[in-house]
């Protein structure tokens, strides 16, 4: 079922115009939340917060601080949204937030353009193994 009136949740892995949620929903209200629990637990310095702030200011986002899940849900309510759209996070912390948001409201996750698309999950564990499979595919895109 498509969302008719979503909000976009922008997290700290996708603060750029390639964010697929912003691209696909350019008119939807969008939010970035400074995650206070993470900032305090990790003793995150002002440098990092300032960098994130400057990245966020160049996007059409509302900025908040606090509990990410509560803030996203409150933002959705504020805009009468029927769901939330975001970009696929890697960080397990963000994935836990996504799961919690999805318990309250439908959450759509969009993936952006990959660096390399592998036909099957690579054998990880050591870079050399991964790169043996990935490198030729990455270079297929080069037209020298």
């Amino acid at each position: 079922m498509d969302l008719t009136n979503p909000v976009v949740w922008v997290h700290e892995e996708a603060l750029g115009p390639a964010n697929p949620a912003l691209q696909d929903h350019p008119k939807a209200p969008a939010l970035f939340v400074f995650d206070q629990a993470w900032i305090e637990a990790q003793n995150i310095s002002r440098k990092r917060l300032g960098f994130l702030y400057e990245c966020a200011l160049e996007l059409p986002l509302t900025l908040r601080k606090g509990d990410v899940v509560q803030e996203v849900l409150a933002f959705a309510k504020r805009h009468g949204a029927d769901g939330v759209v975001t970009s696929g996070p890697v960080d397990p912390r963000l994935n836990r937030y996504a799961t919690r948001i999805n318990r309250e409201l439908p959450l759509w996750i969009l993936d952006g353009d990959p660096f390399v698309e592998l036909p099957r999950p690579p054998r990880l564990g050591r870079f050399s193994r991964y790169w043996r499979e990935a490198e030729p595919l990455v270079w297929e895109g080069f037209r020298g």
Binding site: L15, G16, P17, A18, N19, L22, Q23, K27, P29, L31, F34, Q36, E40, Q42, N43, I44, S45, R46, K47, R48, L49, G50, F51, Y53, E54, C55, E58, L59, P60, T62, L63, R64, K65, G66, R78, V90, D91, P92, A98, T99, P106, W108, I109, L110, D111, G112, D113, F115, V116, L124, F127, Y130, W131, A134, E135, V138, G141, F142, R143, G144
Partner: protein, 302 residues
């Protein structure tokens, strides 16, 4: 949570503004200067230490950096602190630039594959670390393997020594790297490796203490790249520990630290690799039994 496939986006259209009616709890978007941003952050996040970095966030700054990337010169000079490295990592880590965009920018800027090989390889490392994180999840914070240093994991201190944190070890190099880390939030990769090896092997500190310290400061602080690279130095995510000696550091830093170092005549980093190895590690087989890439360079450099 449905995951949707998307069409690929060749041209990134500027995202139009979609302002939201203000709410009293919203953080301000109108800030007249960086000083105003600094004051705001001080007020909103009083526990967050330090000042702003001279490195600016945002797409404009990222595009400026991207426009200066020279893949061939990067390949030739990247191991030197003064080398032409890209400085793109904070922007890539936060998705200001996607890895796919940077890959395509490199492709557009080279005529032959050889010119871009090293830089593309480094982008591959970033992709690899992210895939490892998806696979391992929170386990990236745990030792992936045993130490190959001959020392039990329990012999590594869980706390970062105060002199390292404060930048008063007396070693001009390590104190210099600490200063750059704390004031700018960015360090050259070679400096990260030297500092990590010093903390883990010379000071016998558990990699996690150093890795957490880096994440407080690094603008590109990515738990996967950071934690797994520290583990790679420590030997918990590689076949052998990474270490270096003074010759190596002096060469790739053009001697800038050693010249003014008060410990220059009693440098703990000085010595042959064989001598340092027996001093630092307790292994019966030489850790360097695996052939090194070339004489005189770091014993391992990714």
């Amino acid at each position: 949570m449905p995951r949707q496939d998307r069409r690929s986006v060749d041209q990134l259209a500027p995202v139009p503004a979609a302002p939201s009616p203000p709410d009293p709890g919203d953080l301000p978007r109108q800030l007249p200067s960086r000083e105003a941003l600094n004051s705001l952050l001080q007020q909103e996040f009083p526990g967050a230490p330090g000042e702003l970095s001279p490195i600016r966030g945002g797409r404009k700054a990222a595009e400026m950096r991207l426009s200066k990337v020279d893949p061939a010169r990067y390949a030739r000079s990247r191991n030197h602190l003064d080398g032409l490295v890209t400085g793109l990592s904070p922007y890539i880590r936060h998705g200001v630039l996607s890895l796919a965009e940077v890959r395509d920018a490199v492709f557009r800027r080279i005529r032959h594959r050889d010119e871009g090989g090293k830089l593309i390889n480094e982008l591959g490392w970033r992709d690899f670390w992210q895939r490892m994180w998806l696979e391992l999840g929170d386990a990236i914070a745990e030792d992936q393997e045993e130490y190959k240093t001959g020392h039990p994991a329990s012999s590594y201190s869980n706390a970062l020594p105060q002199d390292v944190r404060d930048g008063c070890t007396g070693l001009a190099c390590m104190d210099g790297f600490r200063e750059q880390l704390v004031t700018t939030g960015w360090l050259h990769n070679h400096a990260r490796m030297w500092l990590a090896a010093y903390v883990v092997h010379w000071r016998r500190v558990h990699w996690r203490a150093g890795a957490d310290w880096f994440l407080e400061h690094l603008l590109d602080g990515d738990p996967a790249s950071n934690h797994l690279s520290w583990q790679w130095v420590a030997s918990c995510f590689s076949h052998k520990p990474y270490f270096f000696n003074r010759d190596n550091l002096e060469r790739y830093s053009n001697g800038r630290y050693c010249r003014s170092c008060s410990c220059a005549d009693r440098c703990p980093l000085e010595g042959s690799y064989d001598a340092l190895e027996s001093q630092l590690f307790a292994v019966s087989q030489p850790v360097r039994a695996v052939p090194a890439r070339s004489k005189g360079k770091s014993k391992r450099k990714r």
